[in-house]
Amino acid sequence: MKPAPFDYRAPATLQEAIDLLAAEPEALLIAGGQSLMPVLAFRLASPSMLVDLRRVAGLGDIAIDGGGVLLGARVRWRDIDDDPRLQTAHPLLREAIAHVAHYQIRNRGTVGGSLAHADPAAELPGIAVTCDAEITLAGAAGARTLRAGEFFTGPLSTARRPDEIITELHLPLWPRNRRWAFQEFAQRQGDFALAGTALFYDEDQDGLVRNAHVGVIGACDRPQRLTEVETLLNGHAVGEGLFREAAEAAAQAVDPPDDLHANAAYRRGLVATLVARGLRASHIRGR
């Protein structure tokens, strides 16, 4: 359980970090290290160098304004917990992040690390995709911003180039009266979910669903929005009948993996149950 040898650098600026990555193709970035350290321990990766972002200023801020919520790449799970503004600025984010990992890991694990690692069952990538968030990267060729739906390309795979560093995640403005829920099922608290869903919609004055967003984690090879389910919800009156129909459609829309923990049929059933629970919870909250 010892990593293979590597060089270590902790540059003081983002530009120096990018230069190191560009000059050293086998280098990897580390920040909190809560996903990377086990990967190194198992020697699933053997980088020639680790470039630590701990000294780079300006990556650890949470900014909230009229455009939404900006999370710096080095914001930790506990920073999201500790920021009371997010209760109203992004309640879905807070609820989802409450399910991430264990106490000690929450003290070091970061936004950028979770996005870059891209576990299909991870909560933050699921929130990013569901909310149509944007991910900004800085690299040798300059900065670029990608929609979360384009960023995640498969299990543990993203559109990030080796010399690029995730600098921030931008979640669009969250209206106050939005209906929302986050539901997941894991075998133990803090474990990766066998499946989960993040969903929200706005309700018009006639009680009809508008702007439905339904995302799933752990049930596809990457976090994914279920557009069929969203179409089914939009323009219809909220109620148990609609929720059941949506849950059934969600189960059909996912393509879950078989693994040691659950087979595909079980995960499909889980998605239906969690989407139904989420829609009910979002409907009754605050009424």
Partner: protein, 158 residues
Amino acid sequence: MQVSFQLNGEPVEVDIEPRMHLADCLREMLRLTGTHLGCEHGACGACTVIVDGAAVRSCLILAVQAEGSSVVTVEGLSSEEALTPLQAAFRKHHALQCGFCTPGMLTTAHALLTEEPDADADRIRSALSGNLCRCTGYIPIVEAVLEARAAYRKSDKP
């Protein structure tokens, strides 16, 4: 690579390979073997230490990343002579048997109660959920931490 940090209130400096995690640095280089290594990949919580006030898994942080930090291990919780109220509560409630997980339980509970001396049983269970114990069944551990809260509330007052 030269690394220096505060360890249990004293400055230390070690010359290590970058790949060495903090737990190995504490145990092998600094000879503080109270920090136990169970899984070495962040699953068991036995190696929990406190870095800059926050409980972290010392197998999931490189020693070089602790540069300039303040690190507290189980050895730093008490003096040689007396148990802390938290340790005394562990003894009273039989919150350990083989003792392998105990350093991680103590450091985690200490960090939690220092920040949240009013943590309820649910919060304590949640914070300790990343620490595995194969002896006790956890109930005595939660009881011990609940009892120790009183001491942390007092120490908050000047």
